[in-house]
Symmetry: C2
């Protein structure tokens, strides 16, 4: 993509009403644009990152047997009444249609999926079952000041699992835990598995927490990774010696990038989702739910991976693989060569100063910056976004380097 054609150029200033680092950088770099508090539009660069995040999640969901579907966002009041959450789910957007019927905007989908399950599942032979979607959610959040970390409209991957027994649910829960750890690692995030409140569903749930000053949650944790609890529920104090002998526990501000809930039989009983077991007994299906907010992860990546010049995207979710800065006519040719070999390249072909182009590249944060100028001759100057070191490479060596990076 030629930068001159790209919609969503960088801005000198972030809007004054944005306080979070993620929103300031993403808006300045042309990834997102604010429509209202907690509601953002994704411009082409931002949508590319969002889609890459979604694709990584999709791949990992498919590995653990997830079947992708897509549930509606307009929910009849009846299903939320049936679960008892019409009045209890505080962030539920409610509206009426022209016929005066009450509707809710989907804040989560237990209320929609469990009734479908009750139509299709009747025997233990139909279980276990893992269904997920990557779909828009609406939540009327009272606080919405953290850029895309906490939005009123956001895309979420929500996975629901259905089991014959609590043991089977617990075993899949562990499997999802490992998959989540893999997903966050692919995003370049170090997520801490944290015990948290189970809300009205169960005694506990678990959150995946990433340490950053932008966090709205706090945890008490052992830096060696064997203990972490949300301060909302923990009885343990900062400074207490870790039971495993790893020294004093720490306290940190964190962002919740994912969560997993044992739902028990609360929803299956409410919606009549029963199955017949091997002995012929009718039992409620045991459920679990597992969420990852795509935009929130994108925002967290920015909070964790940036410097004073801009964003530093991990390769896995970067909008393009390389940012080609053209300072001589030969750049056109290199751009064509890169495209022809299947490299995703953003090419700054504008007629502006080298300094402005470098600043743009640093702000956008694509992992590799390539420079083609009089000085580089037949070679290409390569610099990683997170390093000061530059190196002049032949085209073929550059390709080798990028290919290696892809395989990492």
């Amino acid at each position: 993509m030629r930068y001159s054609n790209l919609f969503g150029k960088t801005k000198k200033e972030a809007p004054k009403d944005e306080v979070s680092i993620n929103a300031k950088l993403l808006i300045r770099a042309g990834f997102i644009e604010k429509l209202a508090a907690g509601v953002y539009n994704f411009l082409p660069l931002g949508w590319r990152v969002h889609e890459k995040i979604g694709q990584i999640i999709r791949e990992e969901m498919n590995v653990i047997g997830g079947q992708e579907l897509n549930l509606a966002a307009l929910h009849p009041k009846s299903v939320w009444e049936k679960s008892g959450r019409w009045d209890k789910f505080g962030a539920l957007y409610k509206l009426k249609n022209q016929s005066g019927e009450d509707l809710a905007l989907g804040a989560t989908h237990e209320e929609v999926l469990t009734p479908i399950i009750s139509h299709y599942i009747s025997s233990y032979k139909d279980l276990p079952l893992y269904l997920y979607q990557i779909q828009v959610k609406f939540r009327d959040e009272p606080r919405a000041k953290s850029g895309i970390l906490r939005c009123r409209e956001f895309v979420m991957k929500d996975l629901y699992s259905f089991h014959a027994t609590e043991e089977d649910r617990a075993s899949y829960y562990e499997r999802v835990r490992k998959t989540y750890e893999k997903i966050f690692k692919r995003f370049g995030l170090q997520a801490i598995y944290t015990k948290a409140s189970g809300g009205s569903f169960s005694e506990f749930s678990h959150e995946f927490q990433v340490i950053t000053d932008a966090g709205e949650d706090e945890i008490i944790y052992c830096p060696e990774g064997d203990f972490s609890e949300n301060v909302d529920i923990t009885k343990v104090k900062e400074g207490k010696e870790c039971d495993m002998g790893h020294g004093p526990l720490k306290r940190a501000k964190v962002i919740e990038v994912g969560n997993i809930f044992p739902l028990g039989t609360r929803f299956s009983e409410a919606f009549g989702a029963y199955f017949t077991d091997e002995k012929g007994d009718k039992k409620p299906i045991v459920m679990g739910s597992y969420g990852i907010g795509l935009g929130r992860n994108m925002g967290t990546i920015v909070e964790v991976h940036h410097d004073d010049k801009g964003i530093i995207w991990p390769e896995s979710v970067a909008p393009y693989e390389v940012h080609l800065v053209g300072l001589s006519e030969k750049a056109d040719e290199v751009y064509k060569q890169l495209k022809d070999t299947g490299i995703d390249v953003l090419y700054d072909d504008r007629d502006v100063s080298a300094g402005e182009k470098f600043a743009t590249a640093d702000l956008i944060g694509i992992p590799y910056r390539l420079v083609v100028s009089q000085k580089t001759g037949n070679k290409i100057e390569v610099k990683k976004r997170d390093s000061e070191k530059t190196e002049d490479l032949e085209f073929d060596s550059l390709l080798g380097l990028l290919k290696e990076e892809r395989e990492d």
Copy 2:
């Protein structure tokens, strides 16, 4: 995918409240499930088709320079007031948030995109510009009885174009027309380019209409393809001789699978989206908009391509390439071989009768049915869904056939 694991098995009966062929077949075959009037959930089979439709559109949008983005669905009242459509757009869902602010659910996105354009575009050098999204829309349709042909919530591809001149807009409009014709052809639909009302934007717009009894619109058209007008606006009567000498014009019921609008400067003036031309004069940006409803196209494909046994998907959008009916143990091996060679296969591995498996295959409508049984020996019986002819092929010949089909 093993059919025994697939979520969304076929049903013997369609729900009694569904009158449309598309909803009856798609529900019976396990593609969709109704949540409320005009609101459907897409089960795994249905979502695969929906995604394929989206991917075909995406490919073609990218060819004509479209940049994909994603705009929010929660709109502040202010933008709809600014365009004058808060009260005029009858199907607009309206709601209030907890702070009492009025919101609309996005029924279309001129009101959201044009203000963004006004921030980013200032010079004729920034034009033309083509932006699209594949994103959920909400419309409080009074009539919602046609299955997924007319929904209250549906995914739409909406492309918006921005130009310096009306001539440039007209030339891109023709380009989109050709692209749309290509897209509908790829869906297996014969769409008739039809003159229609321009609504409040312009004198005329154009619709792409597919002839079927399920249609809610009617057109007067020449079967040779040189004339078609929506009966709502036409002054021409059925039976009139075609001006090109092709005989009498016909009247037919049709479904609108796409539409394109010349928007003029209505929105750019309302939202202050101006540019400076080569002479330094400030002018409003000339716009066009171009829509395709994904679910509606999926429903139309079913209305056009089915028989009394079920759906007959065109290869391009079928949920799987082949439907393997296993009637002997060897089927497991063939399934593995097919998967290993990258063929998308739905494998009916259930312990039910051959008759039931054949009926399931016919209802689901995957283009190729493969049978592995005692009778077929080392060969595989191949039958196209739309043909009665069967043929026993070696595995390699089958692969050759499927590869050929892909390249078509």
